[in-house]
C-alpha cells in the first residue's frame, strides 16, 4: 500500500544488497559530486557569505567589510518598528499553523478513511491549488476580501444581512493568515493523511469494541499515533509562512509586514545589505530552530507511543 511496504516487498534483503553486486560503492558515490559541487558553490557558500556580511560594516561606497559588529542584530531588537515585524511574523506563522492543524485533521481523516472516489476528489482539490502561482492565489483572496461593498465577502455578508456595512479584512494580519492558510494548507494535510493512513485500524477498532465513544478513540488512539504527521506538517507550515513574501505583500499592505518583506525593503529600497543580511539570518535561525525541535521530537520517537 504505502511506498514503505513496497520497498519491503520488492527490495532485496539487506545481506544480498551489500553482497556481490556489480555496482561498486565508491563510483556510485561519485555520481553525487556534480550536485554536491553545484550546491556547495551556489547555495552553501552564498549562505556563509550572507552570515558574514551580517556582522560586517557597509561603508559609504556600499562596500562591505570589517570592522565586525553585532550592531545590525541589536538594531532589530532596539528599533520598535523592526521588533514589531519580528513578532508579527512569529504570530502570523503560529496562528496559521495552529489553524491549519485544527482544520487539517478532519480533512485528512475523511481523506484517508472514505471511499476511494471521495478520497480521490479531496486529494485533487487539496493538491491542485498547490501548483497555481502564489501570486494568483493572493490575488484571488484580494478580490474576495476587498474592503468596501464590492468585495465578495462583504457582498455576501451584506446580502445575507449578517453585517450592515462592509467589514475591513484586507490589509490586516487576518488577511495574511487567511492567505497563508490557503497557500500552505496542503503541507499540513498531506503529512497528516500519510501518518493517519499508517495507523493500524485494529487499534482503533479495539478501542471502539471496548466501548470508547468516537471522540475518545480519536483523543486516546488516533491523535497520539498521528503525532509524526502533525509535527512534520506544523513545522512545514510554520517555516513556509515565516519565510513568505508574496502573501503579506499582496494581502498585508502596510499593517502586516513580515520579515521577508522587511528584507526586500532593506536591500532594494534602503540598500542596507548588512542589516538585510542580519534579518535574513534571524529568519533562518527561527526556521532552523523550529525544524531542529521537530526533528528532536520525531527522531527521539517521543511521539510514537500513545500514553
Amino acid at each position: 500500500m504505502t511506498s514503505d511496504d513496497a520497498v519491503a516487498v520488492v527490495g532485496a534483503p539487506p545481506e544480498t544488497r551489500q553482497g556481490s553486486r556489480w555496482r561498486l560503492n565508491l563510483p556510485a558515490g561519485l555520481l553525487a559530486l556534480p550536485m554536491l559541487a553545484f550546491l556547495a558553490y551556489f547555495f552553501f557558500y552564498p549562505a556563509i557569505r550572507l552570515l558574514f556580511s551580517s556582522i560586517q560594516t557597509q561603508n559609504s561606497q556600499g562596500i562591505i567589510g570589517p570592522p565586525f559588529t553585532l550592531a545590525h542584530y541589536a538594531r532589530l531588537i532596539d528599533v520598535e518598528l523592526y521588533a514589531r515585524v519580528f513578532w508579527t511574523t512569529l504570530r502570523i506563522s503560529l496562528i496559521t499553523s495552529a489553524l491549519a492543524t485544527l482544520l487539517a485533521y478532519p480533512v485528512a481523516l475523511v481523506m484517508v478513511k472514505s471511499r476511494p472516489l471521495v478520497t480521490r476528489i479531496i486529494t485533487l482539490i487539496v493538491i491542485a491549488p498547490l501548483v497555481v502561482s502564489v501570486v494568483v492565489r493572493g490575488y484571488g483572496w484580494q478580490l474576495i476580501l476587498a474592503n468596501g461593498p464590492k468585495g465578495m465577502l462583504n457582498w455576501i455578508l451584506m446580502t445575507l444581512h449578517i453585517v450592515d456595512g462592509p467589514v475591513s479584512v484586507l490589509y490586516t494580519e487576518k488577511a495574511v493568515v487567511i492567505g497563508s492558510l490557503h497557500v500552505f494548507f496542503p503541507m499540513m494535510v498531506l503529512p497528516l493523511a500519510s501518518a493517519l493512513g499508517k495507523i493500524d485500524r485494529n487499534l482503533e477498532d479495539a478501542a471502539r469494541v471496548l466501548g470508547a465513544p468516537w471522540w475518545k478513540v480519536f483523543l486516546r488512539v488516533t491523535l497520539p499515533l498521528s503525532m509524526p504527521g502533525f509535527v512534520a506538517g506544523f513545522t512545514l507550515v510554520f517555516s513556509l509562512t515565516a519565510g513568505s513574501f508574496v502573501i503579506p505583500a499582496i494581502l498585508g499592505g502596510a499593517s502586516a509586514i513580515m520579515l521577508g518583506n522587511l528584507i526586500e525593503q532593506q536591500i532594494f529600497v534602503v540598500y542596507d545589505w548588512p542589516f538585510g543580511a542580519a534579518i535574513a539570518v534571524v529568519l533562518v535561525g527561527v526556521v532552523f530552530a523550529v525544524n531542529g525541535f521537530s526533528m528532536w521530537l520525531l527522531e527521539g520517537r517521543r511521539l510514537r507511543r500513545p500514553s
Binding site: F38, F43, S133, Y139, G243, V287
Partner: protein, 267 residues
C-alpha cells in the same frame, strides 16, 4: 459511509471538510469568473460575459515575453536539475560510503532553507562575481531550489527498483550503461518524470528567488503578474491568472497520470 465515522462526529468531520474544499476552491473560481466579466472594473458579482480580456492579454507583448521567458527558464531548470539530481539520487540509493546520510541532508537542505534567503545570498555572490546575465543567474537560482525535488521523487522510485532484473541484464552481457538505459531507467521513469514536472512547476511559479535575480529586461511571469496586479484594474489580470491556473491544472493532471498525486507529494 465508512463505519469509522458515525453519529455527530461524522457530521462535524464532513462539514469541516466540505467547508475547507470551498475555502480552497473559492479564490481560484472567483478569479476565473471575474476574467470573463464584461465590466471595465473588477467587481463582485461579475457582470455580463466576454472573452475580450483574453484577447487583450494574448496581445500584450510584456505578458507574452514573460511567458516565453518563464517557459524557457523552467525548461532549462528542469534539464539542469535532472542532470544533477538523477545521478545524485543514484549515489544516495546505491552508494554505501561514509557520510551518506549527511550528504543526503545537505542535498535536501535547500528545501527547508527559506527560498527568499537563498535568493538573497545568491544575489550577493553573483554580484560579487560580476555575473550580469539575469537569465544565467535565474537559471542557477532555480536549479538550486528545484534539484532537491528531483532527489526526493527519484530516490523514492529507485528504492523500488528490482535489482535482480539488473543482475539478469548484466549476466546476459549488457554493460552498465546499457543496463541502466534498458532496465533501470524504465523502472524509475515515472519518478524522473514527476521530479522533472515538479522542477518545471516550481520554477515557473517561483517568486522568492526570482525577485532577487531578475532585472527589468528579464522578468518572468510571477513578477509581471505582481506588477500588473498593482497597476492594472481591468479584468486582464484575472484573465492572465486564469491562463496560468489552466496551465497548472494540466500539470497536476499529468502528475496524477504519471505517478499518482499522493505518492508524488508525500515522498
Amino acid at each position: 459511509m465508512d463505519e469509522h465515522f458515525s453519529g455527530f462526529g461524522a457530521y462535524v468531520l464532513y462539514a469541516i471538510t466540505t467547508a475547507m474544499m470551498i475555502f480552497i476552491m473559492a479564490p481560484l473560481l472567483l478569479v476565473m469568473a471575474v476574467s470573463v466579466s464584461d465590466s471595465y472594473f473588477v467587481t463582485f458579482p461579475p457582470q455580463g460575459f466576454t472573452l475580450k480580456w483574453y484577447f487583450k492579454v494574448l496581445g500584450d507583448r510584456d505578458f507574452l515575453e514573460a511567458m516565453r521567458l518563464s517557459i524557457l527558464l523552467a525548461l532549462g531548470t528542469t534539464a539542469g536539475s535532472l542532470l544533477l539530481g538523477v545521478p545524485a539520487s543514484f549515489a544516495l540509493v546505491r552508494g554505501n560510503f561514509f557520510g551518506l546520510a549527511a550528504i543526503k541532508g545537505f542535498l535536501l537542505s535547500p528545501l527547508i532553507f527559506p527560498a527568499l534567503v537563498t535568493g538573497l545570498a545568491l544575489l550577493q555572490v553573483l554580484t560579487k562575481l560580476g555575473s550580469q546575465d539575469a537569465r544565467l543567474n535565474l537559471l542557477i537560482g532555480h536549479i538550486v531550489v528545484t534539484s532537491p525535488y528531483v532527489i526526493r521523487t527519484v530516490v523514492t522510485s529507485l528504492q523500488l527498483v528490482d535489482e535482480n532484473l539488473e543482475d539478469a541484464a548484466r549476466t546476459l552481457g549488457a554493460n552498465r550503461l546499457w543496463t541502466f538505459w534498458r532496465v533501470t531507467l524504465p523502472q524509475i521513469a515515472s519518478g524522473v518524470a514527476a521530479g522533472g514536472l515538479f522542477a518545471f512547476m516550481v520554477s515557473f511559479d517561483n517568486y522568492p528567488v526570482t525577485m532577487w535575480l531578475a532585472n527589468s529586461e528579464y522578468s518572468p511571469v510571477p513578477l509581471v503578474l505582481m506588477r500588473q496586479l498593482v497597476n492594472v484594474f481591468d479584468p486582464s489580470v484575472p484573465a492572465m491568472s486564469t491562463i496560468i491556473i489552466l496551465m497548472a491544472m494540466v500539470g497536476v493532471l499529468l502528475l496524477e497520470k504519471l505517478v499518482g498525486l499522493r505518492r508524488a507529494l508525500a515522498a
